[in-house]
Symmetry: C2
Subunit: 514 residues, 2 copies
Amino acid sequence: MQYSYLELAQLLISQIQSEQYRVGERLPSVRTLAKMYQLSPSTAVRCYRHLENQGFINAQSKSGMYVADWKLLYSQNYSLQAKAGLYSSSGAIQLPRNKAAMVLTQQPSPKGDAHHNKHRIAPPVYEELMSLQHRMSQLYELTEQPLKWQLHLASADPNWYACKKLAQLLKQALVVHPHLLGQYPNGSGWPELKQALSQWMRSFGLDLSENELLITNGSTEATSLALQAVAQPGDCIAVESPVYFGVLQTIEKLGLKAIEIPCNAGTGLSLEALKYALEHQGSIKAVVAMSSFQNPTGSCMPDSHKKKLLKLIGKHQIMLIEDDVFGDLSHQVERPTPIKVWDKHERVIYIGSCSKSLAPGFRIGWIAGGRYHAAIKSLKLSYSLVSPLLEQVALAEFIKGGDMALHLRQLRQRLASNVGLAVKAVAQYFPYGTKVISPAGGWWLWLELPLSISSLSLLKLAIANSISFTPGMVFTNTGKFNHHLRINYARPWVEIEMALQKLGQLAHQQSTNH
Amino acid sequence: MQYSYLELAQLLISQIQSEQYRVGERLPSVRTLAKMYQLSPSTAVRCYRHLENQGFINAQSKSGMYVADWKLLYSQNYSLQAKAGLYSSSGAIQLPRNKAAMVLTQQPSPKGDAHHNKHRIAPPVYEELMSLQHRMSQLYELTEQPLKWQLHLASADPNWYACKKLAQLLKQALVVHPHLLGQYPNGSGWPELKQALSQWMRSFGLDLSENELLITNGSTEATSLALQAVAQPGDCIAVESPVYFGVLQTIEKLGLKAIEIPCNAGTGLSLEALKYALEHQGSIKAVVAMSSFQNPTGSCMPDSHKKKLLKLIGKHQIMLIEDDVFGDLSHQVERPTPIKVWDKHERVIYIGSCSKSLAPGFRIGWIAGGRYHAAIKSLKLSYSLVSPLLEQVALAEFIKGGDMALHLRQLRQRLASNVGLAVKAVAQYFPYGTKVISPAGGWWLWLELPLSISSLSLLKLAIANSISFTPGMVFTNTGKFNHHLRINYARPWVEIEMALQKLGQLAHQQSTNH
């Protein structure tokens, strides 16, 4: 086989990554390389040039090619390491010179490279944030940007999670269950995890037996399964507005129609509006609601509202899909009560997840499907068969061992300590007229800027200044919320304060420009 | 809070499982227990009786209650450990007396217990195996049975997988990436895994770049995403017949219609029949085919057939969804070539997975969606967002470190050594007229029994004799294959031989009874 320059480059990259060539080590000369792989010297030159562009090697004039500090490069291009690195104490990250140039100038590059570059550092296409089809992938691109303050992320600071303890429990699981990896998982979830969850939920009044629970690949799969169980293509689903953009996309992909019901930052979903919609729109099959600490507003429905909502859906004989992924993140001593607690007629499909509160790196959610549970279990077999057990075993031990209670206490304290400061900082740094309501749980701040400031324009400016946030318009299909933005304040306060100060300045600039 | 007897039992079970009470340890007396939890002695008695029924404790007359060897109990009731235990060298498993009685007699039990028992040992409802809706869950129930020879399973013997090495790589991943669990995974898969897969596939001629790959939750999710991308509810999908029952269920859940095209145990999908179907059925949008070592027949299409199939789908401008999960398990030196290799027009959606060949406990698959790749990526966001990274990191290292090649060599040798023996054993032990073709890869044996023997009746008899297999009728919606059965021979030969001998005897019995 004769290699093309790109194939040879790929081979060398894998050798560099497996440290057959170590950082700083000298690579074969062009002549030697060409000989080794029976290529023309010009192909070898092209290959090295490609690797240099990719940041894997450095040319040192006359003395040859050397392996570059490519791990640094990786730490900026791939979100996983990037996120860890971005919040290190060292502050700003140094981009390798050529890489930085690419980010800033987006120069055209040969076709082969374009593919790679696009994958690694494509900036979000701001216009596509408007498109329901593309907004999730564009927000993902945002995460891959080498930004200093990523306030759009959907998790807390990695150091705020019990990574070490979870790693230890994973290792333990592998010892205790030596055949865990050599066997197909089976059934509706690891029985001990379902037991542990059942017991945990009982601590806040939610009485669900093991048999009522199904383990899913996060709350995304749970929501998708619930929607498919309760509705047929063409049906309508009532959602909060603003609402997590993922729900809008899932609804659309399933051929359903989202009916957006206003949700205010204080008491959540407007029951009056929902009542009106239910009376005037016959085909609403379910309401999807995040009743405690809604994404993005942070609102929490008072118990009286929750009970009224339950009555309302009962009266109209539809289902409520209750997404409780933020419920555990109350800033107060008491955790809010899920609506499911009062559900006597199996009309509430309850969804929980460990992705927000416990371990974003696990993809474990759970669902209690009420009267649709059997249908949901059957659907799960068609969509992903089963969920992997390793993480389930570790999570079961984490809960049973009391680590969950301990971890949540710390995380909630951290959030509670940040929220007041964040609200104050917004008041201090943002233009006059900016509105914000202090949430009682979760980690979102939902800001309404003065009408003169577009949050999309602010985002462009912010990204040029190494700050990201989520613009309001992605949380709706209606074209509203153009002056809103969502911010995650679950990071060490010094970082959040710097970011809010900077962002406030940029908002002032925008305001003056208009 | 005052506990009910069931709640108290649950609490004690969790204390026993976390070894606060160890095996053999004496539990508090009824009187003490009642005092500890402020309950009536009769509630404490009910609680202990429940635990005894569940096999967690033993009563020793006059001396009190002691923690039973409950881990043994677990090893029979939960498939995970069960599967490991069942194939231990010790042979038959001793059921605790009360448990065995439950299995055999299925006596009615108090309502509270019924729930638990149902979860743990419900036997399959044979009639429901006929129902597309229920057959998968019924086959799962089969896996949870405490049977000695589970020949229906979809993986090889747990000891035939590189569990130790994978566990070591998982531990390493947790050390190298200390924040892995504290961050949301992002994007279309761990870049190094996609690189490693890309390089691996190149070794058998399949040239797919990282950007052409998306990591999924196993091949089930991949298939579901592919079908949704290429077809709308109401459309038809051509599949092999017999075909893996999961595909039939997924097609049905998506509102699509399966068109079953005959597949023979030798050369696979009948191209003549497919051609006819395409010419007479306008709404076929795609063909799903397992071109190498099909499930259940084990057939492998010759290269000439594969190329003709590619031409045929090109001519009719439809897509081919090629499921290659068994391709790596060739019994010969050469691995068969996937059709995707010859696909110049992006008409083949290629699906791979590590669940069969490398690690059933991981739920990692991959898909190259051809002209539908962007649509598939977008759908994935709606169905499960992202796949967890931990297993991806370990798998990447497994492949890059050369362990995959080594492991596959061993696994393939084991399969190759069993297959000839298995075919011979069928000839020796089964009734005259039983047909079987020796497959060239994978681990399935597709048997056709004489017409006088129904495979469903044989299954009932077999299960009573601690053997399971998959009856032929679950591989179709047409009502065919009532005399067929699928057997997995990927277990140590002594076990397979004993099972085939026993099963052959039972088949003879059936044959004589008619």
